[in-house]
Protein backbone atom coordinates (compact mmCIF):
# COMPACT_ATOMS: atom_id res chain seq x y z
CA UNK A 1 0.00 0.00 0.00
CA UNK A 2 1.40 3.40 -0.91
CA UNK A 3 1.51 5.76 2.05
CA UNK A 4 -0.81 8.73 2.02
CA UNK A 5 1.02 12.05 1.91
CA UNK A 6 1.15 13.98 5.19
CA UNK A 7 -1.54 16.65 5.54
CA UNK A 8 -0.18 19.92 4.12
CA UNK A 9 0.76 22.80 6.39
CA UNK A 10 -0.97 26.14 5.82
CA UNK A 11 1.24 28.64 4.06
CA UNK A 12 1.51 30.85 7.12
CA UNK A 13 3.15 28.04 9.07
CA UNK A 14 5.66 27.07 6.39
CA UNK A 15 9.17 28.29 7.05
CA UNK A 16 10.01 31.25 4.85
CA UNK A 17 13.40 31.22 3.15
CA UNK A 18 15.73 34.04 4.20
CA UNK A 19 16.88 36.74 1.85
CA UNK A 20 19.76 35.68 -0.37
CA UNK A 21 23.12 36.30 1.28
CA UNK A 22 21.81 36.46 4.85
CA UNK A 23 22.36 33.60 7.30
CA UNK A 24 21.37 35.03 10.67
CA UNK A 25 18.15 36.77 11.58
CA UNK A 26 18.86 40.45 11.57
CA UNK A 27 15.87 42.44 12.68
CA UNK A 28 14.51 42.16 16.24
CA UNK A 29 11.28 40.76 14.79
CA UNK A 30 13.20 37.95 13.09
CA UNK A 31 15.17 37.29 16.26
CA UNK A 32 11.96 37.09 18.32
CA UNK A 33 10.52 34.68 15.74
CA UNK A 34 13.67 32.58 15.94
CA UNK A 35 13.46 32.46 19.75
CA UNK A 36 9.84 31.31 19.61
CA UNK A 37 10.63 28.63 17.06
CA UNK A 38 13.52 27.30 19.09
CA UNK A 39 11.38 27.17 22.25
CA UNK A 40 8.67 25.24 20.42
CA UNK A 41 11.34 23.02 18.90
CA UNK A 42 12.76 22.28 22.36
CA UNK A 43 9.35 20.98 23.52
CA UNK A 44 8.65 19.16 20.27
CA UNK A 45 12.02 17.41 20.25
CA UNK A 46 11.18 15.93 23.66
CA UNK A 47 7.47 15.15 23.12
CA UNK A 48 6.82 14.81 19.37
CA UNK A 49 3.56 16.65 19.99
CA UNK A 50 3.60 18.45 16.64
CA UNK A 51 2.66 15.34 14.67
CA UNK A 52 -0.44 14.73 16.77
CA UNK A 53 -1.32 18.40 16.74
CA UNK A 54 -1.01 18.54 12.97
CA UNK A 55 -3.11 15.37 12.71
CA UNK A 56 -5.83 16.93 14.87
CA UNK A 57 -5.87 20.49 13.55
CA UNK A 58 -5.06 20.32 9.84
CA UNK A 59 -7.56 17.74 8.68
CA UNK A 60 -9.11 17.68 5.25
CA UNK A 61 -12.81 18.49 5.35
CA UNK A 62 -15.31 17.52 2.68
CA UNK A 63 -16.70 19.94 0.15
CA UNK A 64 -19.91 21.58 1.35
CA UNK A 65 -18.83 21.94 4.98
CA UNK A 66 -20.93 24.77 6.39
CA UNK A 67 -21.86 26.63 9.57
CA UNK A 68 -23.92 23.68 10.87
CA UNK A 69 -20.63 21.87 11.41
CA UNK A 70 -19.66 24.35 14.11
CA UNK A 71 -22.40 23.25 16.54
CA UNK A 72 -20.16 20.62 18.15
CA UNK A 73 -17.38 23.14 18.79
CA UNK A 74 -20.03 25.57 20.06
CA UNK A 75 -21.22 22.94 22.57
CA UNK A 76 -17.62 22.42 23.65
CA UNK A 77 -17.08 26.14 24.18
CA UNK A 78 -20.32 26.30 26.15
CA UNK A 79 -18.90 23.53 28.34
CA UNK A 80 -15.60 25.38 28.75
CA UNK A 81 -17.48 28.54 29.73
CA UNK A 82 -19.50 26.53 32.26
CA UNK A 83 -16.32 24.98 33.65
CA UNK A 84 -14.52 28.29 34.10
CA UNK A 85 -17.47 30.22 35.56
CA UNK A 86 -18.31 27.20 37.75
CA UNK A 87 -14.82 27.05 39.22
CA UNK A 88 -15.03 30.71 40.21
CA UNK A 89 -18.60 30.41 41.53
CA UNK A 90 -17.31 27.62 43.81
CA UNK A 91 -15.05 30.20 45.48
CA UNK A 92 -18.11 31.87 47.05
CA UNK A 93 -20.64 29.01 47.21
CA UNK A 94 -21.31 27.12 50.46
CA UNK A 95 -23.28 23.84 50.25
CA UNK A 96 -25.02 24.28 53.61
CA UNK A 97 -28.61 23.05 53.67
CA UNK A 98 -29.51 24.88 56.90
CA UNK A 99 -29.64 28.24 55.11
CA UNK A 100 -26.00 28.93 54.24
CA UNK A 101 -26.36 27.83 50.63
CA UNK A 102 -29.13 30.30 49.84
CA UNK A 103 -27.32 33.04 51.76
CA UNK A 104 -24.05 32.42 49.89
CA UNK A 105 -25.82 32.55 46.52
CA UNK A 106 -27.65 35.72 47.58
CA UNK A 107 -24.32 37.22 48.65
CA UNK A 108 -22.44 36.30 45.46
CA UNK A 109 -25.31 37.56 43.28
CA UNK A 110 -26.05 40.81 45.06
CA UNK A 111 -22.84 41.86 46.80
CA UNK A 112 -19.84 40.43 44.95
CA UNK A 113 -18.36 42.56 42.13
CA UNK A 114 -19.55 41.09 38.78
CA UNK A 115 -21.25 38.31 40.77
CA UNK A 116 -24.58 38.67 39.02
CA UNK A 117 -22.80 38.61 35.67
CA UNK A 118 -20.69 35.49 36.34
CA UNK A 119 -23.61 33.66 37.90
CA UNK A 120 -25.77 34.75 34.99
CA UNK A 121 -23.25 33.34 32.52
CA UNK A 122 -23.34 30.01 34.35
CA UNK A 123 -27.11 30.00 34.77
CA UNK A 124 -27.97 30.99 31.18
CA UNK A 125 -24.95 29.16 29.77
CA UNK A 126 -26.38 25.88 31.03
CA UNK A 127 -29.52 26.45 28.96
CA UNK A 128 -27.42 27.49 25.97
CA UNK A 129 -25.35 24.32 26.30
CA UNK A 130 -28.43 22.06 26.36
CA UNK A 131 -29.86 23.84 23.29
CA UNK A 132 -26.53 23.60 21.42
CA UNK A 133 -26.18 19.92 22.26
CA UNK A 134 -29.66 19.23 20.88
CA UNK A 135 -28.96 21.27 17.72
CA UNK A 136 -25.68 19.38 17.28
CA UNK A 137 -27.57 16.11 17.69
CA UNK A 138 -30.18 17.22 15.14
CA UNK A 139 -27.44 18.19 12.66
CA UNK A 140 -25.82 14.78 13.07
CA UNK A 141 -29.17 13.06 12.61
CA UNK A 142 -30.39 14.99 9.58
CA UNK A 143 -27.02 14.86 7.82
CA UNK A 144 -26.84 11.11 8.41
CA UNK A 145 -23.50 11.59 10.16
CA UNK A 146 -24.29 8.84 12.66
CA UNK A 147 -23.94 6.09 10.03
CA UNK A 148 -21.04 3.70 9.55
CA UNK A 149 -18.28 4.12 10.67
CA UNK A 150 -19.45 6.80 13.13
CA UNK A 151 -22.02 4.82 15.20
CA UNK A 152 -19.76 4.69 18.24
CA UNK A 153 -19.42 8.47 18.17
CA UNK A 154 -23.22 8.76 18.16
CA UNK A 155 -23.39 6.49 21.21
CA UNK A 156 -20.75 8.57 23.01
CA UNK A 157 -22.75 11.64 22.05
CA UNK A 158 -25.85 10.18 23.68
CA UNK A 159 -23.82 9.53 26.84
CA UNK A 160 -22.63 13.15 26.69
CA UNK A 161 -26.25 14.31 26.34
CA UNK A 162 -27.23 12.31 29.44
CA UNK A 163 -24.26 13.72 31.37
CA UNK A 164 -25.25 17.25 30.31
CA UNK A 165 -28.78 16.61 31.59
CA UNK A 166 -27.31 15.31 34.86
CA UNK A 167 -25.35 18.55 35.16
CA UNK A 168 -28.53 20.58 34.62
CA UNK A 169 -30.48 18.51 37.14
CA UNK A 170 -27.85 18.60 39.90
CA UNK A 171 -27.01 22.26 39.32
CA UNK A 172 -30.65 23.29 39.64
CA UNK A 173 -30.68 22.45 43.36
CA UNK A 174 -27.63 24.50 44.31
CA UNK A 175 -29.20 28.01 44.67
CA UNK A 176 -31.44 26.29 47.24
CA UNK A 177 -34.50 28.46 46.89
CA UNK A 178 -38.10 27.24 46.75
CA UNK A 179 -37.89 26.51 43.03
CA UNK A 180 -34.69 24.45 43.44
CA UNK A 181 -36.08 22.53 46.38
CA UNK A 182 -39.40 21.52 44.84
CA UNK A 183 -37.91 20.85 41.40
CA UNK A 184 -35.43 18.47 43.01
CA UNK A 185 -38.17 16.76 45.05
CA UNK A 186 -40.12 16.19 41.84
CA UNK A 187 -37.02 15.14 39.85
CA UNK A 188 -35.88 12.62 42.45
CA UNK A 189 -39.40 11.20 42.67
CA UNK A 190 -39.51 10.80 38.89
CA UNK A 191 -36.31 8.75 39.20
CA UNK A 192 -38.04 6.75 41.94
CA UNK A 193 -40.83 5.62 39.62
CA UNK A 194 -38.47 3.31 37.72
CA UNK A 195 -39.45 -0.27 38.58
CA UNK A 196 -37.25 -2.29 40.98
CA UNK A 197 -34.21 0.03 40.94
CA UNK A 198 -36.17 3.28 41.21
CA UNK A 199 -36.63 3.32 45.01
CA UNK A 200 -32.93 2.64 45.58
CA UNK A 201 -31.88 5.23 42.99
CA UNK A 202 -33.93 7.94 44.67
CA UNK A 203 -32.54 6.97 48.10
CA UNK A 204 -29.03 7.18 46.63
CA UNK A 205 -29.69 10.62 45.12
CA UNK A 206 -31.19 12.01 48.34
CA UNK A 207 -28.61 10.36 50.58
CA UNK A 208 -31.43 8.74 52.55
CA UNK A 209 -35.19 8.32 52.69
CA UNK A 210 -35.84 12.03 53.26
CA UNK A 211 -34.46 15.15 51.67
CA UNK A 212 -31.81 16.11 54.23
CA UNK A 213 -28.49 17.77 54.94
CA UNK A 214 -26.47 15.39 52.75
CA UNK A 215 -28.71 15.80 49.69
CA UNK A 216 -27.27 19.21 48.87
CA UNK A 217 -23.61 18.25 49.39
CA UNK A 218 -24.22 15.09 47.36
CA UNK A 219 -25.66 17.05 44.46
CA UNK A 220 -22.82 19.58 44.78
CA UNK A 221 -20.16 16.83 44.59
CA UNK A 222 -21.87 15.18 41.61
CA UNK A 223 -22.27 18.57 39.91
CA UNK A 224 -18.74 19.87 40.33
CA UNK A 225 -16.52 16.79 40.59
CA UNK A 226 -18.02 13.55 39.29
CA UNK A 227 -19.89 14.53 36.12
CA UNK A 228 -17.53 17.27 34.80
CA UNK A 229 -14.63 14.80 34.89
CA UNK A 230 -16.67 12.20 33.02
CA UNK A 231 -17.87 14.85 30.55
CA UNK A 232 -14.34 16.06 29.80
CA UNK A 233 -13.06 12.49 29.33
CA UNK A 234 -15.94 11.52 27.03
CA UNK A 235 -15.57 14.76 25.05
CA UNK A 236 -11.89 13.94 24.52
CA UNK A 237 -12.82 10.54 23.11
CA UNK A 238 -15.62 12.12 21.02
CA UNK A 239 -13.13 14.57 19.48
CA UNK A 240 -10.55 11.86 18.91
CA UNK A 241 -13.08 9.90 16.86
CA UNK A 242 -14.01 13.03 14.89
CA UNK A 243 -10.35 13.56 13.98
CA UNK A 244 -9.85 9.87 13.29
CA UNK A 245 -12.90 9.31 11.10
CA UNK A 246 -13.26 12.78 9.57
CA UNK A 247 -16.52 14.62 8.97
CA UNK A 248 -19.23 13.79 6.47
CA UNK A 249 -20.28 15.80 3.45
CA UNK A 250 -23.78 17.28 3.61
CA UNK A 251 -26.41 14.92 2.16
CA UNK A 252 -27.34 17.28 -0.69
CA UNK A 253 -23.91 16.84 -2.29
CA UNK A 254 -23.73 14.00 -4.78
CA UNK A 255 -20.51 12.07 -5.06
CA UNK A 256 -18.49 13.33 -8.02
CA UNK A 257 -17.85 10.69 -10.64
CA UNK A 258 -14.46 10.77 -12.30
CA UNK A 259 -15.05 10.40 -16.05
CA UNK A 260 -11.59 8.97 -16.65
CA UNK A 261 -12.21 6.31 -14.01
CA UNK A 262 -15.51 5.42 -15.67
CA UNK A 263 -13.95 5.00 -19.13
CA UNK A 264 -11.19 2.83 -17.71
CA UNK A 265 -13.64 0.58 -15.93
CA UNK A 266 -15.80 0.15 -19.06
Amino acid sequence: MPKLPAPPLPDSLKPTPGRPGTTKPRTPLEQAKEAGISAVDWVDERTSLSGGLRWTMFRKVPKGTNWFYTLGSASMFAFLSQAVTGVFLAMYYRPDAAGGAYESVRYLTNEVFLGEFVRGMHRWGSTVMVILVFLHMARTFFFGAYKYPRELNWIIGVVLLILTMTMSFTGYLLPFDQRSYWATIVGVNINGTGPIVGPFLSDFLRGGAEFGATTLSRFYAIHMLLVPGLLAAMMGFHLYLVAKLGTTAPPWLKAEVDDELRTERV
Binding site: W182, V186, T193, A213
Partner: protein, 226 residues
Protein backbone atom coordinates in the same frame (compact mmCIF):
# COMPACT_ATOMS: atom_id res chain seq x y z
CA UNK B 1 -8.62 -35.14 4.97
CA UNK B 2 -6.47 -32.41 6.35
CA UNK B 3 -4.16 -33.31 9.14
CA UNK B 4 -2.41 -30.97 11.51
CA UNK B 5 0.93 -30.04 10.00
CA UNK B 6 2.47 -29.23 13.33
CA UNK B 7 2.24 -31.43 16.34
CA UNK B 8 0.49 -29.44 19.05
CA UNK B 9 2.68 -28.05 21.78
CA UNK B 10 2.78 -30.02 24.96
CA UNK B 11 1.11 -28.34 27.91
CA UNK B 12 4.07 -29.19 30.09
CA UNK B 13 6.85 -26.61 30.15
CA UNK B 14 9.43 -29.33 30.59
CA UNK B 15 8.47 -30.85 27.22
CA UNK B 16 8.87 -27.45 25.55
CA UNK B 17 12.51 -27.31 26.62
CA UNK B 18 11.97 -24.18 28.77
CA UNK B 19 15.04 -23.83 31.00
CA UNK B 20 14.47 -24.59 34.67
CA UNK B 21 11.04 -26.15 34.16
CA UNK B 22 9.61 -28.08 37.05
CA UNK B 23 8.19 -31.53 36.86
CA UNK B 24 4.51 -31.26 35.89
CA UNK B 25 4.64 -27.46 35.44
CA UNK B 26 2.08 -26.18 32.91
CA UNK B 27 2.15 -22.37 33.37
CA UNK B 28 5.23 -20.52 32.20
CA UNK B 29 6.72 -18.06 34.65
CA UNK B 30 6.08 -15.15 32.28
CA UNK B 31 2.39 -16.00 32.16
CA UNK B 32 2.36 -16.46 35.91
CA UNK B 33 3.97 -13.07 36.52
CA UNK B 34 1.60 -11.30 34.08
CA UNK B 35 -1.38 -12.87 35.81
CA UNK B 36 -0.05 -11.97 39.25
CA UNK B 37 0.51 -8.34 38.27
CA UNK B 38 -2.97 -8.06 36.72
CA UNK B 39 -4.61 -9.55 39.80
CA UNK B 40 -2.57 -7.28 42.09
CA UNK B 41 -3.64 -4.25 40.05
CA UNK B 42 -7.30 -5.28 40.18
CA UNK B 43 -7.09 -5.78 43.95
CA UNK B 44 -5.45 -2.37 44.37
CA UNK B 45 -8.14 -0.63 42.29
CA UNK B 46 -10.96 -2.41 44.13
CA UNK B 47 -9.22 -1.46 47.36
CA UNK B 48 -10.31 2.14 46.87
CA UNK B 49 -13.37 1.86 44.61
CA UNK B 50 -15.37 -0.60 46.75
CA UNK B 51 -15.00 1.44 49.97
CA UNK B 52 -16.08 4.69 48.28
CA UNK B 53 -19.08 2.98 46.66
CA UNK B 54 -20.09 1.58 50.03
CA UNK B 55 -19.50 5.01 51.54
CA UNK B 56 -21.76 6.68 48.97
CA UNK B 57 -24.54 4.07 49.07
CA UNK B 58 -24.39 2.24 52.41
CA UNK B 59 -25.96 4.80 54.72
CA UNK B 60 -28.63 6.03 52.27
CA UNK B 61 -29.78 2.55 51.33
CA UNK B 62 -29.37 0.52 54.49
CA UNK B 63 -29.61 2.81 57.53
CA UNK B 64 -32.75 4.45 58.88
CA UNK B 65 -32.48 7.41 61.19
CA UNK B 66 -34.03 7.33 64.67
CA UNK B 67 -37.75 8.18 64.62
CA UNK B 68 -38.64 11.70 65.74
CA UNK B 69 -41.83 12.17 67.79
CA UNK B 70 -43.23 15.70 67.78
CA UNK B 71 -45.99 16.69 70.26
CA UNK B 72 -48.80 18.47 68.38
CA UNK B 73 -51.36 19.19 71.11
CA UNK B 74 -53.86 17.65 73.52
CA UNK B 75 -56.02 14.84 72.08
CA UNK B 76 -59.25 16.82 72.48
CA UNK B 77 -57.99 19.56 70.13
CA UNK B 78 -58.63 17.35 67.12
CA UNK B 79 -62.14 16.99 65.65
CA UNK B 80 -63.39 13.94 63.76
CA UNK B 81 -64.96 15.74 60.79
CA UNK B 82 -62.13 18.05 59.68
CA UNK B 83 -58.36 18.34 59.83
CA UNK B 84 -56.12 20.57 61.94
CA UNK B 85 -52.76 21.51 60.36
CA UNK B 86 -49.62 21.02 62.45
CA UNK B 87 -45.92 21.44 61.58
CA UNK B 88 -43.63 18.57 62.53
CA UNK B 89 -39.92 17.87 62.07
CA UNK B 90 -38.97 14.91 59.90
CA UNK B 91 -35.23 15.63 59.50
CA UNK B 92 -33.23 17.27 62.24
CA UNK B 93 -30.43 19.80 61.80
CA UNK B 94 -31.40 21.24 58.40
CA UNK B 95 -33.68 24.07 59.48
CA UNK B 96 -36.85 24.79 57.52
CA UNK B 97 -36.45 22.09 54.91
CA UNK B 98 -36.54 19.39 57.62
CA UNK B 99 -40.08 20.42 58.57
CA UNK B 100 -43.37 19.40 57.00
CA UNK B 101 -47.05 20.05 57.53
CA UNK B 102 -49.37 17.26 58.62
CA UNK B 103 -53.16 17.32 58.83
CA UNK B 104 -54.40 15.68 62.05
CA UNK B 105 -57.90 14.56 63.04
CA UNK B 106 -59.50 12.05 65.38
CA UNK B 107 -60.93 8.78 64.15
CA UNK B 108 -64.17 9.08 62.24
CA UNK B 109 -67.01 6.64 63.02
CA UNK B 110 -67.85 6.17 59.33
CA UNK B 111 -66.25 2.85 58.25
CA UNK B 112 -66.14 4.17 54.69
CA UNK B 113 -63.64 6.82 55.83
CA UNK B 114 -61.78 4.89 58.51
CA UNK B 115 -61.85 1.09 58.14
CA UNK B 116 -61.84 -0.51 61.61
CA UNK B 117 -58.42 -2.18 61.25
CA UNK B 118 -56.57 0.82 59.78
CA UNK B 119 -55.26 2.14 63.10
CA UNK B 120 -51.80 0.98 64.17
CA UNK B 121 -51.69 0.19 67.91
CA UNK B 122 -55.31 1.37 68.20
CA UNK B 123 -54.41 5.06 68.57
CA UNK B 124 -57.62 6.69 67.29
CA UNK B 125 -55.99 9.55 65.39
CA UNK B 126 -55.05 10.10 61.76
CA UNK B 127 -52.06 12.26 60.77
CA UNK B 128 -52.03 12.68 56.99
CA UNK B 129 -48.82 13.65 55.20
CA UNK B 130 -49.04 16.58 52.78
CA UNK B 131 -46.66 14.95 50.32
CA UNK B 132 -48.55 14.41 47.07
CA UNK B 133 -48.39 10.84 45.79
CA UNK B 134 -47.80 11.97 42.23
CA UNK B 135 -44.36 13.58 42.50
CA UNK B 136 -44.11 14.96 46.02
CA UNK B 137 -45.51 18.47 45.88
CA UNK B 138 -47.27 19.75 49.04
CA UNK B 139 -51.06 19.24 49.05
CA UNK B 140 -53.43 21.39 51.09
CA UNK B 141 -56.75 20.48 52.68
CA UNK B 142 -59.70 22.53 51.42
CA UNK B 143 -62.31 22.39 54.14
CA UNK B 144 -65.22 23.56 51.95
CA UNK B 145 -64.68 20.69 49.52
CA UNK B 146 -63.42 18.23 52.17
CA UNK B 147 -60.66 17.38 49.77
CA UNK B 148 -56.87 17.51 49.54
CA UNK B 149 -55.70 19.37 46.44
CA UNK B 150 -52.22 19.46 44.93
CA UNK B 151 -51.10 22.72 43.24
CA UNK B 152 -48.63 21.13 40.81
CA UNK B 153 -50.51 18.77 38.51
CA UNK B 154 -54.04 18.80 39.88
CA UNK B 155 -54.11 15.73 42.11
CA UNK B 156 -57.31 15.51 44.21
CA UNK B 157 -57.87 13.30 47.27
CA UNK B 158 -61.04 12.70 49.30
CA UNK B 159 -61.45 13.22 53.04
CA UNK B 160 -59.63 9.97 53.89
CA UNK B 161 -56.74 10.85 51.57
CA UNK B 162 -57.71 8.41 48.79
CA UNK B 163 -57.11 9.86 45.29
CA UNK B 164 -60.28 10.80 43.41
CA UNK B 165 -58.75 12.69 40.49
CA UNK B 166 -55.54 13.57 38.72
CA UNK B 167 -52.29 11.61 38.49
CA UNK B 168 -51.65 10.37 42.09
CA UNK B 169 -51.16 6.59 42.25
CA UNK B 170 -52.05 5.84 45.88
CA UNK B 171 -53.59 7.46 48.98
CA UNK B 172 -51.64 10.07 50.91
CA UNK B 173 -49.02 8.76 53.35
CA UNK B 174 -49.72 8.91 57.07
CA UNK B 175 -47.70 9.25 60.23
CA UNK B 176 -47.76 7.01 63.27
CA UNK B 177 -49.34 8.66 66.29
CA UNK B 178 -49.11 8.00 70.04
CA UNK B 179 -50.25 9.69 73.24
CA UNK B 180 -47.65 10.63 75.85
CA UNK B 181 -48.28 12.93 78.86
CA UNK B 182 -51.74 13.81 77.51
CA UNK B 183 -50.11 15.03 74.28
CA UNK B 184 -50.70 13.57 70.86
CA UNK B 185 -47.32 12.88 69.28
CA UNK B 186 -46.68 12.42 65.55
CA UNK B 187 -43.87 10.08 64.55
CA UNK B 188 -42.50 8.17 61.53
CA UNK B 189 -44.20 8.02 58.18
CA UNK B 190 -45.96 4.97 56.71
CA UNK B 191 -47.58 4.34 53.35
CA UNK B 192 -51.01 2.91 52.59
CA UNK B 193 -52.37 1.22 49.50
CA UNK B 194 -55.80 1.71 47.92
CA UNK B 195 -57.52 -0.30 50.70
CA UNK B 196 -55.69 1.79 53.36
CA UNK B 197 -53.58 -1.23 54.31
CA UNK B 198 -50.41 -0.15 56.04
CA UNK B 199 -46.89 -0.51 54.56
CA UNK B 200 -44.42 0.24 57.40
CA UNK B 201 -41.54 0.69 54.94
CA UNK B 202 -42.87 3.82 53.32
CA UNK B 203 -42.48 4.36 49.59
CA UNK B 204 -41.65 7.49 47.65
CA UNK B 205 -44.33 9.37 45.72
CA UNK B 206 -45.23 7.98 42.34
CA UNK B 207 -44.81 4.38 43.47
CA UNK B 208 -48.00 2.37 43.18
CA UNK B 209 -48.72 -0.08 46.01
CA UNK B 210 -51.74 -1.89 44.56
CA UNK B 211 -51.45 -5.16 42.63
CA UNK B 212 -48.09 -5.57 40.93
CA UNK B 213 -46.92 -2.18 42.19
CA UNK B 214 -45.97 -3.48 45.62
CA UNK B 215 -43.49 -5.85 43.96
CA UNK B 216 -42.21 -3.36 41.35
CA UNK B 217 -41.41 -0.87 44.11
CA UNK B 218 -39.78 -2.88 46.90
CA UNK B 219 -39.52 -1.45 50.40
CA UNK B 220 -36.30 -0.27 51.93
CA UNK B 221 -33.87 -2.74 53.44
CA UNK B 222 -34.67 -1.55 56.93
CA UNK B 223 -37.91 -0.15 58.29
CA UNK B 224 -38.02 2.50 61.00
CA UNK B 225 -37.65 1.30 64.55
CA UNK B 226 -40.85 2.19 66.39
Amino acid sequence: MATARKTPKSKYTADRKIPGAFEGETVTRRRFMVGTVNVAGAVAVMGFTLPVLGFAMGTPLFERPEPIWTPVGAPDEFPTDTYVPRVITVVQGVGEIGKTTTYVRARNDDPEIDPPDSFPDDVPFVAVSTRCMHLGCPVRFVDAAKRFICPCHGGVYDFAGVPTGGPPVRPLDRFYTRIRNNQLEVGPRYSVNGELNRFPSYRDPGQDLDGIGQYLYPGRFSTPQR
